[in-house]
Amino acid sequence: MNTVVCIKQVPDTETLIKIQGAGIVQDGIKWVMNPYDEFAVEEALKKKEELKAGEVTVVSLGPDRAVEAIRTALAMGADTAIHIADAAYAEKADPFATAAALAAAIKGSGKAYDAIFMGKQAIDDDSAQVPVMVAEMLGIPSITMVIKFDVAADKSKATVTREVEGGVAVVEVPLPAVFSAQKGLNEPRYASLPGIMKAKKKPVDVKTAAALGVSDGPKTVVKEMTLPPAREAGKKIAGDDAAAKAKELARILHEDVKIV
């Protein structure tokens, strides 16, 4: 089974985010592969191993540093990669522009694929749009929030379980299609040391957005970034006894937190 996995390099979840204009300060950020994309890479690798054939191609849009995330995917076991190494394009890219670049790279590579896997969302902008948009642009179906993926032996179709509100739905879809991975799909592997060393020698095809023929700018623009108001210091609920404190807590949950 030939698969394409779209990945994104994002700041580590724990990294300190500092605002600068309409963006964030890039210095001091620890960049990692988007965690949800790890599920996507893992699933592609698992299918390749299961069917004992196929190639896993990683595609990523991002500045030069994004190659580290690509190497991580290659270390896990992906075979080749396309890096749309275009800092200027990537910096401004919204989900639409990102999807356009990824779709163009996939099309432009001429690679035959049975499935495209991506994380359900990138944990930087949390947009969760790119998988669906790439599918739209490639004219193939998309199934989001996949937690179980089975492919027919002839690779003609996939039967997947996806999360829906309050439960799960089993969907059958002809291939090729785009699938976005939700936590629970699998347990991503930890790259072995030989894998890391081999990854250094695997081919990464470097492209620019212009070379791929995508020139449209982003369709949405971040005007400003702000920090959320500082978390107020924890409040100890006063009261004469447990009952009084419970009463006050119930009031807070109702009136302030508005959950009850």
Binding site: D12, E14, L16, G28, E187, Y190, A191, S192, L193, M197
Partner: protein
């Protein structure tokens, strides 16, 4: 026979060699020669030579084991003859000491008799075994022979009555004891019969000296009812029984753990002489560029010394006795790991030997036998180890047990990504945020905010670097300890600074879990930072960092003088730079829990105890296991980050020990221990009776330090 005319002596081969049996001496020579042949045959058939081939074929890197030969030799001699390490366990030590010295004394005596009767007399006709020398020799042999019997009885008592759970039992264990006992007893009876038949006669010139063979004399008295011919018949029968028995015993050496008589002293000679008491095999950084496999997954990847260790093992079980994993019902017995490797040498050899008996190194594909990891040593065993070093410390044969497991972890982790699932986040945390909790690296120095604690980046340099480590930086419980230490150093006017957010994880957990790749990346980053600030002396809060910076960083080119904070505080208190103003209230009876990495690894036993005494806040008692035999908290070797789902909990066992010692306060000097014991107290619901503190917190209290942030200084650090 002796015909020397010496009166104060005895006839060798009395009642044996004579007109009735002129060739007895020749028969004896045949018996000895036969025994030698059988001994050799034994070495062949029991696989000793096969195992030697496996040892010879071992490829793993090994440190120089022949440097400082004089020191090695004398240490071995000293340790073998004085039984220093063995005597650490009084009961086992005593009986082994008695048996060993009985063996030595009787071997000397036999050798003297042999020299006299079979060499010197036939050639030179000189009889020296007489008078005072003879009497002394008789007494010497009798006394030590008797002590050996006591030793054997003690050993038998242990095997049959005490039966410690950590002692394993093979048929040979009891056989050997009964065998030796039989030889000793028949020896004394033979002697007694001879005395009864000869020296007991008041006419004998030896009669006045009859009690220089006290045990023989007593044995003889038991046969005083016999007439001489009866005595002679029985003597002859038992003499041959004794001689043949001794010969068979000699042969039995080759077939049993008695081989340790020869193999173990060699291992003592080959012992680890480096400062680091339990080195893990060094992996040069270049390896990560060009090697194809990491860690160990097949026998030959061990070093010759690793494999030889298993030859030196006598299965005594001291390593098992002290192992925290074994003591909490986990599937790890260090002895069995060593024995499994020994047996595996033969198993593997079956596949690896060609027709000519040459040992070949097989490629993975070629080999179809059981694997080292999994089949020979269970994976649960490999993960159960806390690297507490109790096994290495306890082993009287100078075997290094647990580092062999780390080699296996390395293969599993780096080659197969095979490790407990919960460790994944630890690795990622170390990679992305340089701490195992995966807390944002930017908050590393938040604990110091508002306390005017100097940063290297502001100061440019300092006499001491205070290397806080991850626990002191990120864990709420241990942040208080870090702050206490920093404030005490300030109080004492020590010129120090912290690295703040430039500090990184020391990498100990990664190293011990087997991820040398991450460890080295972390270590190199730290070494570079240390060097950039010209750091020469380092104070650490965590014993794991202490040990890692002190020994492991050296291998990577980071040579620093490293102190644990207890060493520094001890000095500062003694020199009066820190004044303990008043006793700390409510501590009650205190006990100190030795951190493995501070105690066994680095012999820092006294400083923390000195400090506790200096607090003058309550009696200081010891727990049942303390100092070198201290019981692990359960967090070492990366176990801090793993679920403990087999057996019972190590931290709870240790907490109960503290309670049993009658302590109200258990003091630690290690953040892992502090966490584990604090958890143990909560888990066991002992909060009413027992509390845990790090020593630094107590010193800070006694010195009158307020840990609250100074006003108006909120942004001074970090």
């Amino acid at each position: 026979m002796h015909g020397s005319g010496a009166e104060i002596s005895r006839e060798v081969f009395w009642n044996i060699l004579g007109p009735g049996f002129p060739t007895a001496q020749v028969v004896l020579y045949f018996i000895v020669a036969g025994a030698l042949l059988m001994l050799f045959r034994g070495l062949v058939t029991n696989g000793f030579f096969t195992r030697l081939k496996a040892i010879w074929a071992a490829q793993g890197s090994e440190s120089d084991r022949l440097d400082k030969p004089g020191e090695r030799f004398w240490h071995a001699v000293w340790d073998v003859f004085l039984q220093k390490k063995i005597l650490r366990e009084p009961y086992q030590g005593t009986f082994h000491f008695l048996i060993l010295w009985g063996f030595i004394a009787l071997t000397i005596t036999t050798a003297v008799v042999f020299l006299q009767a079979d060499v010197i007399w036939p050639i030179w006709h000189w009889w020296f075994m007489k008078d005072g020398f003879y009497l002394g020799l008789s007494l010497f042999a009798d006394v030590f022979g008797f002590l050996a019997i006591i030793g054997i009885l003690m050993a038998l008592y242990r095997r049959y009555v005490i039966k410690p759970v950590w002692l394993d039992e093979k048929p040979e264990d009891k056989t050997i004891l009964w065998f030796i006992l039989a030889i000793l007893v028949t020896g004394f009876i033979v002697e007694g019969l001879r005395i009864q038949a000869t020296e007991a006669n008041p006419a004998s010139p030896m009669h006045p000296y009859i009690w220089t063979s006290p045990i023989g004399r007593i044995a003889g008295l038991a046969f005083s009812w016999m007439n001489e011919s009866g005595l002679r018949s029985l003597h002859m029968l038992l003499w041959w029984t004794h001689v043949i028995g001794a010969a068979v015993f000699f042969v039995y050496i080759a077939y049993s753990k008695l081989m340790h008589i020869f193999l173990t002293p060699v291992n003592i000679f080959l012992r680890n002489t480096s400062d680091n008491p339990a080195p893990i095999r060094f992996m040069p950084p270049e390896m990560f560029e060009n090697a194809e496999t990491f860690g160990i997954h097949k026998l030959e990847e061990y070093s010759w010394k690793d494999l030889y260790d298993s030859e030196a093992c006598v299965r005594c079980g001291r390593c098992v006795e002290v192992c925290p994993a074994f003591n909490t019902d986990k599937p790890l017995k260090p002895r069995d790991v060593i024995q499994d490797i020994r047996n595996y040498m033969e198993t593997k050899a079956k596949f690896a030997m060609d027709v000519d008996g040459n040992y070949r190194i097989l490629a993975d594909e070629e080999y179809t036998g059981p694997a080292l990891i999994g089949d020979t040593i269970d994976k649960h065993t490999i993960w159960a180890c806390t690297t507490c070093m109790a096994c290495v410390e306890a082993c009287p044969c100078y075997i290094t047990q647990f580092p062999k497991l780390i080699d296996l972890r390395r293969y599993m982790v780096m080659m197969e990504s095979d490790f407990p699932a919960e460790v994944l986040d630890v690795f990622k945390g170390m990679e992305n945020n340089s701490n195992p909790w995966s807390i944002g690296a930017h908050v590393r120095a938040d604990w110091a905010k508002g306390h005017n604690i100097p940063l290297m980046s502001e100061k440019g340099g300092a006499e001491y670097l205070f290397y806080v480590g991850c626990a002191g930086s990120f864990d709420d419980l241990n942040k208080k300890v870090a702050l206490s230490i920093a404030k005490l150093l300030q109080l004492a006017g020590v010129d120090f600074a912290i690295l703040g957010t430039e500090e990184g994880c020391c990498g100990d957990s990664a190293k011990k879990i087997g991820n040398e790749y991450i460890y080295q990346a972390l270590a190199m980053a730290n070494i570079e930072t240390f060097k950039a600030y010209g750091v020469k002396q380092i104070i650490t809060m965590c014993p794991h960092g202490y040990n890692t910076l002190k020994y492991d960083y050296k291998e990577l080119g980071g040579d620093f003088e490293v102190f644990h904070y207890t060493e520094i505080l001890d000095t500062l208190i003694k020199s009066g730079k820190i004044t303990l103003k008043e006793p700390v209230a409510d501590l009650g009876t205190m006990t100190y829990h030795d951190s493995c990495y501070l105690g066994r690894y680095n012999k820092v036993y006294d400083q923390p105890r000195n400090i506790l005494k200096a607090l003058n806040s309550g009696a200081v008692v010891e727990m049942a296991s303390n100092h070198a035999k201290s019981f692990c908290c359960g967090a070492g070797g990366g176990r801090m980050w793993m679920e403990e789902d087999l057996g019972t909990r190590i931290n709870q066992k240790r907490t109960k020990e503290a309670e049993a010692a009658g302590a109200k306060t258990v003091c630690t000097a290690c953040p892992f221990c502090f966490t584990m014991l604090s958890d143990g107290i909560k888990e066991l619901e002992l909060s009413e009776k027992l509390q845990a503190f790090d020593i630094a917190q107590l010193v800070a209290k006694a010195a009158g330090i307020d840990l609250k942030a100074s006003e108006g200084d909120q942004e001074a650090a970090g």
